[in-house]
Symmetry: C2
């Protein structure tokens, strides 16, 4: 079995994750987290929260997953959140057209091609339907919107969509959220929650699914005055796979943050700051940093508004998978929502000192414009006001001409009330820019599992274990009685209860021989097992066994909770002996 | 303002919750949790998890929110998850018909009436459209399915629905989940997640919303052999509002669990167990137990398969609101999924000792049935087999008659291979019964806030504060410098950082006068504020101020983390002085 098949098998058997609704034949792209997986996922989310909310001192919110259509008109998802689909004329199966081309050719970025080009490539390369084998040549390639649609309330008058990213639930509420930040930039708003993409061809377990969990941070900054505390991270080394390396035949290069900025490899200090901060996150959750890189977006991948974009990628079964996107999104999101909603998506930036500015204003004589231009008079007045703001020199002559809906209107300057006045202003309205690190939680959980799986031989027997960081493991400590009799079981249950009361995640197991019980815990990554045996009844000590080394030591029961706490904090068996 | 208006105003202003998408005119039935609310909600969920997962030692899973249609065919939601709707012929507004009747009449359970009856009541009572005032008499009352529908994948060939309860994600995966329980009953599976109901008329803030969070536990038991540990809770006093009291003119009566079972007030020991266990939960999250009751379902409210159902209700603004449903659901859910999917939703119950049973079997001569009955032969053989299992006396005579699709077929008994044999069986397949406590997390958060709000006068000034349990508050401790100068701010920031490192939720605030900063924290329920003043620089002590009493005491900085920890654990300012 391949590395990924191994993990899928282990995940299903031990309760990390499995395909949903198998009793009804399964539903592609949907996975259920079993008890071990749900706990591991929660632990990954807690580490994320610890770094991006607590340490960085940002807010965390929780917004609905269903949002009304207007939101996605503004965000651009309704128009542009598409993948290319080709439907087999023979069997009716739908396929992601660009993926078929990538699988059959050397092309790696088929997504950036147009539907017509993809259709031609399918024909040229004689690509067949993966379901039935019929030729797909000539079958139309079309855009398919990936949002799940629904209707809010009775009837179909209020279409809604499941959010394709958690971010929109933050952007839309910016007018309210800025109040909680007391109208001061910079501030960040985080959210961990479900997002949905109606993938044409879900695949690769937790990698390309239709319902997933994102952890996103939207950091709102003033582009002119806010800088990240880059000095705190400038020595952090980053494994960078730059556009230059990708376009040439270079590979990953390690650069300190400061050097990468100086050399222009990373274009934005803000993006660099989050790339650096995130290294600690990936390390804490147990990503193998030898199978990890930051890949810069190629020009064709990047959204037009994004100044610099990098993906964090993990290597899984030979492929590189995006687990995080880091983007400098400029004012794109807030400007769009401001334009579409007509509400105030800006922050008032106070000047250090009030400034005096010259303003050109008009006050048109409506008693002249009315009789002269009839129904167009009000529009002419508006056009004069806009013109004064834009080009005051237009009022230098005797008359001024404005355009209203394609018709020209000429007005004597003396009738416009044109004037230049001095005004004192205390500040100005600024649309904040957004720096966004966006994490796929399921892909992170999947990467952690794949990178943690180990095989070795213990006492001549092969075993599989997960080398998860101790604080990330679903169970911190498992407690076993050597036999489930002679009071060993009662004693072990009491010890398990004590450890639970000490705030630890504890598992109690008395079934099967002790070796089998160790293997079970090894496979779910439990870092420590405690065994209660006949000596325990004599001398009040128990055995602690360490997962990775399988080394054992004995400690007094009364010292056990403290011993486990020290082990979880990074000490070794030798330290606590 | 009413109690509920007060809370909605506070919630919006301080960031607990607010109506979503206001920039686009709002979307009824959807709320966003702001920073304070998201933290409070997470804390409520953590207490729930602590009790129903950790202490009760159940599994917790996380399933998708979108599920395929087959699931809801089996569960009955597709057919029966309806509310009654009446659409105004004049303005087109849709209303929940039974609610209009309840609002306009003395009827309290209009939901249990049929659409025709409701239509007649609307006409008789002359109920008008709440939106435009036109008469609704004669407008048809119809059933409206409350599930949000969507399509999975391209096209409309795979309809899916947003789950109306988290429970289905557990029931459907029973065949897999039982493996994690090593095929042994009893075991429980919990889930905290989003659920969706396309309410016709969302109302009352977080009470009747279209997207909400449920915390559900499905406890799978063997109805014949599994009993709850009722002895652990038999002395717990419950405020019970029984059907007898509701049908007469009785009120809430307090009964110990044991007495309520003996008196037959509570019909199921399992339900009684969870009613008792849940008392600790409501108390820990800060529900005012004088505004709390358990209300038994009236016969008309109860699903046909449910043996006994109780709701936990909180009093909010004069109304009683369901916050939890407790139901003994029998084998209804698993049987339905077993029938519809054809998969095994049973558990094998091992007998203590193998038993020998007599089995009637048949082995029909197909060489006789074939020529005799042609295409129906196989069905006749199957019918004979079923008949032997059901009624062996049918084979007492010379011939036996079976019915296949309405046609009768008579077969000589000697051709059926009928035989009575002795078989040794080690156990039997049992469809587990389900005990379900189902909590509405948003309603709990709302109840906690309403019950916690206090007003008093401090130093002649009115103040509002939230008397939240200290461990439930979004912020455990706020740190203020008296002035943001003279090094007080640096010192205060360092202290805040130390407290954060000690694992506490800390807020730092240096803006505005100290009184205003106290009020801000009072309004979000922060139990303790620490102030750094000029004395601090001299003697290394700070002031701790307690939210409810506004009492203050001074402690040494080096003892501060431990002092806060003791206060959060229930000690008083006097204890730590």
């Amino acid at each position: 079995m391949s590395e990924l098949e191994d993990i899928s098998e282990l995940a299903r058997r031990r309760g990390f994750f499995f395909p949903s609704n198998q009793a009804y034949g399964g539903t592609a792209g949907f996975y259920t987290y079993g008890p071990e997986g749900a706990a591991l996922k929660r632990n990954v989310e807690d580490v994320w929260r610890d770094i991006y909310v607590r340490e960085e001192d940002h807010m965390e919110v929780s917004a609905p997953t269903i949002m009304p259509e207007a939101v996605f008109e503004a965000s651009g998802h309704l128009e542009g959140f598409d993948d290319m689909i080709v439907e087999c004329a023979d069997c009716g199966a739908a396929h992601r057209a660009d993926h078929l081309v990538e699988d059959a050719t050397d092309i790696e970025d088929a997504e950036s091609y147009g539907p017509e080009e993809i259709g031609e490539l399918i024909a040229t390369h004689g690509i067949d339907c993966p379901s039935c084998g019929a030729s797909l040549a000539g079958d139309p390639v079309e855009e398919f919107n990936l949002m799940f649609g629904t209707n809010i309330g009775p009837g179909s008058s209020a279409p809604g969509y499941l959010r394709p990213e958690t971010a929109q639930g933050i952007f839309v509420e910016f007018p309210r959220l800025k109040e909680y930040a007391r109208n001061q930039l910079p501030f960040g708003v985080a959210q961990i929650g479900r997002a949905y993409r109606n993938e044409i061809s879900p695949r690769r377990a937790l990698v390309r699914v239709r319902e997933f969990t994102q952890a996103e941070l939207e950091h709102f900054i003033d582009p002119e005055t806010d800088d990240p505390p880059i000095e705190r991270v400038e020595d952090v080394e980053l494994p960078l796979y730059s556009t230059t390396a990708q376009n040439g035949d270079g590979g990953v290069e390690r650069h300190a943050v400061g050097d990468a900025l100086d050399a222009g490899i990373i274009g934005s200090e803000w993006v660099a700051y989050y790339l650096a901060r995130s290294m600690a996150f990936y390390e804490r959750i147990g990503i193998d940093m030898d199978r990890f890189r930051y890949r810069q977006h190629l020009a064709g991948e990047r959204a037009h508004y994004a100044a610099d974009c990098w993906d964090a990628e993990t290597e899984l079964g030979g492929d590189w998978i995006e687990v995080t996107g880091f983007a400098y999104r400029s004012d794109y999101d807030l400007s769009k929502h401001g334009d579409y909603s007509g509400e105030d998506f800006t922050i008032f930036r106070q000047y250090d000192e009030p400034v005096t500015v010259e303003r050109a204003t008009v006050d048109p004589e409506m008693s002249y414009l009315g009789p002269e231009f009839g129904g167009a008079a009000a529009d002419v007045a508006d056009a004069l006001e806009r013109l004064a703001g834009r080009d005051r020199s237009a009022f230098d002559g005797d008359a001024v001409t404005v355009d209203v809906d394609g018709d020209e209107y000429t007005v004597p300057v003396e009738r416009t009330g044109f004037e230049i006045t001095e005004q004192t202003e205390s500040g100005e309205h600024v649309t904040p820019h957004v720096v966004e690190p966006s994490f796929g939680v399921g892909r992170l959980v999947y990467s952690v599992l794949v990178h943690a799986r180990r095989e070795d031989t213990v006492d001549g027997e092969e075993r599989t274990y997960l080398e998860l960081p101790p604080t990330l493991a679903p169970t911190a400590v498992a407690v076993f009685p050597l036999m489930s009799r002679d009071g060993l079981d009662d004693r072990a249950e009491a010890i398990a209860e004590d450890l639970r009361r000490a705030g630890l995640e504890v598992s109690y197991d008395e079934s099967g021989n002790i070796g089998r019980r160790y293997r079970r815990q090894d496979e779910v990554g439990t870092p420590y097992c405690v065994t209660v045996d006949y000596d325990t009844l004599e001398d009040e000590t128990v055995t602690i066994r360490e997962r990775d080394s399988t080394d054992q030591t004995r400690v007094a029961i009364e010292e056990l909770p403290e011993a486990i706490r020290r082990l979880l904090a990074g000490e070794t068996l030798a330290d606590i002996e």
